[in-house]
Amino acid sequence: MKKLGKIYLVLVLLFLYVPIFVLIVFSFNETKSRSVFSGFTLDWYKRLFHNRIIISSLINTAIIAVIASIVSTVLGTLAAIGIHHMKKVPKAVVMNITNMPIINPEIVTGVSLMLLFVFFAARMNLEFGFVTLLIAHITFDVPYVILNVMPKFNQMNPHIFEAAQDLGCSPVKAFRKVVLPEIMPGVVSGFLMAFTYSLDDFVVSYFTSGSTSQTLPITIYSMTRRKVSPEINALSTLIFVAVVIVLIVKNAIENKAAKKNGSYRGN
């Protein structure tokens, strides 16, 4: 029975990984063939690094992800403080609306923002591009920050903030010294989640980007629509390697933290 389980696990892993490995292998293929490997080359990587559109959309993606995740972390953390101190009914209303971009299909979020931007574009000096993309990214990022920070407030002892003030802290200092350390894990995971969602988003960006400001996923999409070039394979390989490195580092940090916590508990 146990053996059967292992075979099954391996089969599913093959299903998940074989397509990616085929992509990687063919990124080193001399010809454009997608089925016959004719010889090793690094040409597609060289071309990739000289492809202006890809490089500029990569930079654009990074800028948008950084700004959107920072803004949404600040906005979302402040929002969580406020929502936590609301009465039951307004709290429920706000949380339900906050959940909308998470529950709704991405295409609906994208299309709804597009309608809004079209409305503004017709009446004000707003063009589809960097600004609309940034607004759209912040909009779908903030809910993830709020959802990560809110539980930390619920776990926190509500009296420590008052206790700090009774002991002579100003409200700002009490917040910085007492509340912030308590909610920090939620803020950090919210920020990271917002950042990854921003980096990876295609659907919402597709509807809100216009032609002047492209993100990497949009460039990838237009590459797959045109003639097939192994440059995409090279790009996939680099992204895969980056993901593996990030996850290994993340795992190592978490293991270290777990060990540290474990020793505090005396295990």
Partner: protein, 268 residues
């Protein structure tokens, strides 16, 4: 100092960029170009009934396949040694961190008429078989892309099931099959319901998978909406009406799913 006012900037943002856009979808769905109330576009959605049926059908099949594949995987993962679980889970979830366009593109190259699968089939004297631009390819793309969304919630509920429950069940005379149906499945119900919604919602609203793997003959609701907003058939009123119907379908599915979720029922 009232702390609740800290949320003011977000509340303003939420109203302008979440609430108003959604209300605009409803407004566009029920008005014509000159702003008059009309039911025309909502009733026009009926013309695309076949696309709706196809979308619901294909995404239900994909969700069912995901559930069948993911359930044993989640169970095997949850019963591994604790220190192995984290690493194994990371390996299972890793492909999900690749951009989903690239994951779908990978299947495009595999299934293509000149792709590697047809090449291998050709070497053994079979084929070429038409693999890409079929509804089967669309379902495959959905399963491949959204399988981790099914595994994760299942794993997180199963991990919490105490091992001694299985021993107790077998001590009390349960066979392993009846342990599965009377202990494991009831206890993992919250994971099953959230897994189903997490796969079904993106599957029914996708337009990338159908476009890249389905060719022109397997249009889904997502394609239909995209065509109304960015395609040649520019018609935001019809697009908004289709989006509204899609939201209603998803709402119905989620309400049905909540009926099976013991936790949700307590809250309601």
């Amino acid at each position: 100092m009232k702390l609740k006012y800290f949320s003011a900037p977000y509340l303003a943002w939420m109203i302008v960029f979440i609430l108003v856009p959604l209300l605009m979808i409803a407004y566009f769905a029920f008005t014509s170009d000159n702003g008059e109330f009309t039911m025309k576009y909502i009733s026009d959605v009926g013309q695309y009934a076949n696309i709706f049926v196809r979308s619901i059908w294909l995404s239900l099949i994909a969700t069912a396949i995901c559930l069948v594949i993911a359930y044993p995987i989640a169970f095997i993962l949850s019963r591994m040694d604790k220190h192995k679980q984290g690493t194994m889970l990371m390996i299972v979830m890793l492909p999900m961190w690749m951009n989903f366009l690239l994951r779908t593109y990978a299947w495009m190259t595999l299934l293509g008429n000149n792709g590697i699968i047809n090449h291998i089939l050709g070497m053994v004297g079979l084929g070429p078989v038409k693999l890409i631009n079929t509804s089967g390819a669309v379902v495959l793309g959905m399963v491949y892309n959204y399988l981790p969304f099914m595994i994760l919630p299942l794993y997180s509920v199963m991990e919490k099931i105490d091992k001694s429950l299985f021993e107790a069940a077998s001590d009390l005379g349960c066979s392993s099959v009846s342990t599965l149906f009377r202990v494991v499945i009831p206890l993992s119900m919250p994971g099953i319901t959230s897994g189903i919604t997490m796969v079904f919602v993106p599957a029914i609203s996708t337009f990338i998978i159908s476009r890249m793997l389905g060719g022109g003959s397997n249009l889904l609701i997502g394609d239909l909406i995209e065509m109304q907003f960015l395609g040649n058939a520019y018609n935001p009123h019809l697009g908004a009406a289709i989006s509204l119907v899609l939201m209603v379908i998803i709402l119905v599915i989620m309400t049905v799913m909540n009926q099976f979720d013991p936790d949700e029922q307590v809250l309601m």
